[in-house]
């Protein structure tokens, strides 16, 4: 196992009085794909969003514990929250292109952090669009609104947009759930390539997808981590009864 990138200690999260995450303790290794699995409503997405503090957006959300990223506790920091968020690219369940052109979607993150030189932006935009295999499809229509792309193309655009701010971590929340099989495959293959450079955290409840790409698995149930470990051990030799039942497909 690689050295830990994220280290979560005694994380508890409440929405109002609802206890969503219960005593989460886990380590997410650097430059590997960590898959968070579990049935719907078990807190997977909330755990992922707490990593870049998007949970702040929810009113009456309270958090305790520590989330250490590169040794820095992001829950209790004087550092600018936008810097922490920029470390992490986010890929949502469905693509949410920003209401602007294809080009500007990719350039957005660079522009808001003050990189405005046209030549520099041109280069970066091309680079990241190539990285997600989208450049050849869109190079003649960069000025068109991003909403005109197909869903699969949009999701790749969103990935390029996230990569463009030069993150260290990619957070992906069921990134293929709205996509057709071919686009899904493209995204999965991209992830396998990207893990050489990035730490990837992916939420999914597609078991076979987890088996295909996970290096490390965190299995959650009703707000708790039931079992975690390297993918091989997890799938071939699960320890807990709930995990075994889940892997057999006894509940969703």
């Amino acid at each position: 196992m690689n050295k830990p990138k994220i280290n979560i200690q005694d994380l508890n999260l409440y929405y109002g009085k609802q206890h969503i995450l219960k005593n989460i303790n886990t380590i997410i290794p650097e430059r590997q794909i960590t898959v968070i699995m579990g049935p719907s409503g078990c807190g997977k997405t909330t755990l992922m969003k707490s990593l870049n503090r998007l949970t702040d957006l929810t009113p009456d959300c309270s958090v305790s514990g520590k989330i250490m990223i590169d040794g820095q506790n992001i829950l209790n920091t004087t550092e600018d929250i936008t810097k922490i968020r920029k470390k992490m690219g986010l890929l949502a369940q469905r693509p949410y292109p920003l209401p602007m052109s294809i080009y500007n979607n990719v350039a957005y993150g660079l522009r808001i952090s003050g990189r405005k030189k046209r030549r520099f932006l041109d280069k970066r935009v091309e680079h990241y669009l190539r990285q997600v295999n989208l450049w050849n499809e869109v190079k003649d229509r960069l000025k068109e609104p991003a909403g005109t792309l197909s869903i699969g193309q949009q999701q790749r655009l969103c990935l390029a947009r996230g990569l463009a701010v030069d993150p260290e971590i990619i957070l992906a929340d069921e990134p293929t759930s709205a996509l057709d099989p071919i686009s899904s495959q493209t995204i999965e293959e991209k992830f396998k390539e990207l893990k050489n450079q990035f730490t990837i955290v992916m939420v999914t409840h597609i078991l076979r997808q987890a088996k295909r790409i996970a290096d490390y698995v965190i299995f959650m149930y009703l707000g708790e981590i039931i079992e975690q470990g390297p993918a091989k051990d997890f799938f071939e030799n699960p320890q807990e009864e709930i995990t075994k039942d889940y892997l057999k497909g006894l509940f969703y």
Binding site: L57, T82, Y96, M100, G109, I112, R161, V165
Partner: protein, 301 residues
């Protein structure tokens, strides 16, 4: 046998209900058409004697000698509506952004009934408030600030009163627009390192921009048609206003002040009907334009 009869009755009733609903629907659709054709018919008497463009662009309002120039009234209406919109736009936009993006949820929950309350106040009360508060404030404080000795009954007074009246209307639309933006879009922008203000400015406002424009279009058409509160504070002097401290005489005020009186003057009622027709068409135009923008942007997104 009984079952069959029952069935016939059931279907008969079904048809009956269908028919009377259609009838009621037809009535609601006929009313505006009837109104419009009535106005056209009534104003045709004046139009057959004088050219439309002359009436529109002449500032001679001398009904006794048959001169009906609408120019002062149209310009007054534009002044009042545009200035009120200029006041309302920043207030509405910033309030909506604050309530939906920055404020705690209970603030929004508190503000909703307040906004509805503001929208429900009869316009004559706004007019009285204008006479008792706004007009003296303009006369005693704002006017002297610009070196003017004025009564306070002015375009500015009308615009301030009007802006307070259209604010709840526009604000409600804007709040709905902002609330319907998917959270994920906001999360996307934040996760790319944007601050909250950058997110609002570059993503959220842009996302609903057509909606914002049409909300203000609808506000404009309300402002244009609003009558009683404006006529109470705007001064009602027939001239072409040249600034916000001068009095004005908007179209709706012209109709409300004069209809029913002096109708013995030839063509006077026809002239007022023409004023009503112009008002009708302008308001319709703004409404139509706003809807068009919404429809277009829906297709686009």
């Amino acid at each position: 046998m009984r079952l069959r009869n029952f069935n016939i009755g059931r279907h008969l009733r079904d048809r009956l209900h269908y028919s009377w609903m259609l009838l009621v629907l037809a009535i609601t659709m006929i009313v505006p058409v009837a109104l419009l054709s009535g106005l056209i018919y009534k104003s045709s008497f004046l139009l057959s004697e004088q050219s439309f463009f002359q009436i529109l662009f002449s500032n001679q309002w001398k009904p006794l000698s048959g001169k009906f120039g609408f120019y002062p009234f149209i310009i007054s209406s534009l002044w009042v509506s545009v200035v009120s919109l200029l006041i309302a736009v920043p207030i509405c936009l910033l309030t909506a952004i604050h309530l939906t993006q920055y404020a705690k949820r209970w603030v929004l929950n508190l503000m909703h009934p307040v906004i509805d309350l503001l929208a429900g106040i009869p316009s004559v009360i706004f007019g009285m408030w204008g006479i008792l508060v706004i007009v003296p404030v303009i006369s005693n404080y704002i006017g002297p600030l610009f070196g003017k000795n004025i009564s306070g009954y002015s375009i500015l007074a009308g615009a301030i009163v009007l802006s307070i009246m259209i604010i709840p209307f526009i604000l409600n639309i804007l709040i709905e627009l902002f609330r319907h933006i998917p959270t994920e879009l906001k999360e996307t922008s934040l996760s790319l390192g944007a601050t909250q203000w950058q997110t609002v400015k570059f993503v959220l406002v842009k996302k609903i921009f057509p909606g914002i424009v049409s909300a203000f279009g609808l506000g404009m058409s309300r402002a244009f048609g609003e009558t009683i509160a404006v006529l109470m504070v705007v001064g009602n002097v027939v001239h072409v206003p040249k600034g916000i401290f001068q009095p004005g005489y908007p179209l709706p005020a012209l109709i409300a002040n004069n209809y029913g009186e002096m109708l013995s003057i030839p063509l006077y009622d026809s002239a007022l009907m023409l004023a009503a027709l112009i008002l009708f068409v302008i308001v319709l135009f703004f409404n139509f334009l706003s809807r068009l923008i919404i429809v277009k942007s829906n297709i686009h997104n």
